[in-house]
Amino acid sequence: MSDSLLAVHDLKVHFPVGGGLFGARAFVKAVDGVSFDIRRGSTFGIVGESGSGKSTTALAVMRLVPITAGQVHLGAADIGALQGEALRRERRRFQMVFQDPYASLNPRKRAGDAVLDALNLMEVGAPAERPAQAERLFTQTGLKAEQMQLFPHQFSGGQRQRIVLARALAARPELVVCDEPVSALDVAIQAQMLNLMLKLQREFGLTYLFISHDLGVVRHMCDEVAVMYLGRIVEQASRESLFERPLHPYTRALWSAAPSFDPGARSRAHRIRLQGDPPSPRNIPPGCRFAGRCPHAQDACRSAEPELRAVGPEHWVACHRVDDAGEARYG
């Protein structure tokens, strides 16, 4: 992939837990060996449930949590290894939109200052031009310039998310990492925000890393999608391939669990039922991480962990029960 913008290789993020004075130190393996490439100008989605490590992956790419192992390259820059001033300068190129619009703006800072501070911190343009630039960002994200003096609590959730987007776009980044950008919003507002993101992507040639638990949103927004389960990617493919022909039993279960707008089209008998909740990333079982909930698990699944391997054009899966030709050898 010559036009790759973000290349993540074997990323691991382990958090130490417990380990007081006498206790043994344990680790939560939130992200445990994740690799993917994002093409410039495309949208790469990561779906998964809580504890899958999708948000931690986003934070690690943003260098907001310590990376335990692995490489993260943004174009030629090794952003996974940069430190201090070098990292600070490079931050102009990758920015983030956060999940909770009620927490991601400083409540005691005016909306306009949130954007202006971003321009100042990243030293965008000449200081004298920055107020005008902040105003331009405000209008580009569908806000009014006279709202710049208001405080965050005076905005609705959707408007706040627009401010967050304006702040992220201040330095014209190449990559925007979006962690559940619309899950806190109402459906109608969600559509407005998604449309805005699509328009801005076309206008500025943005590349998105898009994290979400909402399959409908991911299907709509992403060109390529990775499904994460307990810190690992279990399946990755182009949108068409993944949604038309899901291969991993977890992906299938996830797809069949999502409510459909088609009443009666899918009887509940056809649903793949998963028992229980995902296990905790504190004690990951040996073998395939999904084996404990998988309706098709065999003995082999419980002893050896499957690797993510190519099973078709732009389709990778980590499952013992899918053969190399991309045929599911189960039920």
């Binding site: 809580s50 969600q190 559509a191 949108r239 669990a257 459909s260 998963l274 909740d277």
Partner: protein, 323 residues
């Protein structure tokens, strides 16, 4: 006769900016054993409807200003507080979005389920705990005899919501009100909870009122749907009819703007509902959706449309459908 018939229920909230009419003549009905979905965005009044029905609105600032709630032949709004307590938790029970905060962390789940059974059905403590274990078994919690003595923090989010359902159904109510019961849960766990509610409904004949923001959940779970917007029921009908042919422009917008409904190709712009929900304090004379509506006519701004019945069992509140 319907199990529940809400007629012209109105609720006001006193706020600093003035009086907000949060519910304006809301009417809806549920037959025995049926499932009604109440769908709308935050602030539309869907949760307030459920709370007002059970007279659980905090007053002040809230106040029920009119209407009737016929439940099994009686008007709940006319009952004494004592009689009302016999209805709540016994004949109508409720589950909420946050299964963590709805359970008391200081008592075992068995004690909490047993309490309502003892209160309403006069069982002894031993019998009540036994009944609690049966209920945990009914909601598919493994090893119920042991888990009945455990505390809420020992259960996962999905399991806690099962406990809530067990508690709600312990007295075999006629109506279960579920207010966003799966919003805090993962998709696969949501599917489990939905399956469980459907199964129990088929088994026990309990009617369900599912309050949600998710049109997909409504399509999946319910027989009928009431779409709420700014304190009004703007459309109500059988779910299949609404999904096939939504009549109110707001309903149409709500379905079209959900990416999950796939009304446009991936990557294309979704149909937006422009603007935001209007203030409930300074409301004009006309239809509250007029400012956001693509089909707005002069009349819409001047006069509130009536509830018309374009087909049997189907109501809509829009000037486009009044002949």
């Amino acid at each position: 006769m319907s199990l529940l018939a809400v007629e012209d229920l109105s609720v006001e909230f006193r706020t600093r900016r003035g009086v907000a009419r949060v519910l304006d003549r809301v009417s809806l009905g549920i037959e025995r054993g049926q499932t009604l979905g109440v769908v709308g965005e935050s602030g539309c009044g869907k949760s307030v409807t459920a709370l007002a029905m059970l007279r659980l609105i905090a007053s002040p600032p809230g106040r029920i200003t009119g209407g009737r709630v016929h439940f099994d032949g009686r008007d709940l709004l006319a009952l004494s507080e004592d009689e009302m307590r016999q209805v709540r938790g016994n004949r109508v029970s409720m589950i909420f979005q946050e299964p963590m905060t709805s359970l008391n962390p200081a008592y075992t789940v068995g004690d909490q389920i047993a309490e309502s059974v003892r209160l309403h059905q006069g069982l002894t403590r031993r019998e009540a705990i036994e009944r609690a274990a049966q209920m945990l078994d009914a909601v598919s919690i493994p090893d119920p005899a042991r888990r009945v003595h455990e505390y809420p923090h020992q259960f996962s989010g999905g399991m806690r919501q099962r406990v809530m359902i067990a508690m709600a159904l312990a007295c075999q109510p006629d109506l279960l009100v579920a207010d966003e019961p799966t919003t805090a849960l993962d998709v696969t766990v949501q599917a489990q909870i939905f399956d469980l509610i459907s199964e129990l409904r088929e088994k026990t004949g309990t009617a369900v009122m599912l309050i949600t923001h998710d049109m997909g959940a409504v399509a999946e779970m319910t027989d009928r749907v009431a779409v709420m917007y700014a304190g009004h029921v703007v459309e109500s009908a059988a779910v299949a009819d609404v999904l096939r042919e939504p009549l109110h422009p707001y309903t149409r917008g709500l379905i079209a703007c959900a990416p999950g409904a796939r009304t446009v190709a991936p990557g294309q712009l979704l149909d937006e509902i422009p603007g935001t929900v209007p203030s409930l304090v300074e409301r004009g004379a006309g239809c509250l959706f007029a400012e956001r509506c693509a089909h707005v006519q002069p009349r819409c701004r001047a006069e509130l449309p009536p509830h018309s019945e374009p087909a049997p069992g189907r109501t809509v509140m829009c000037w486009l459908h009044t002949q």
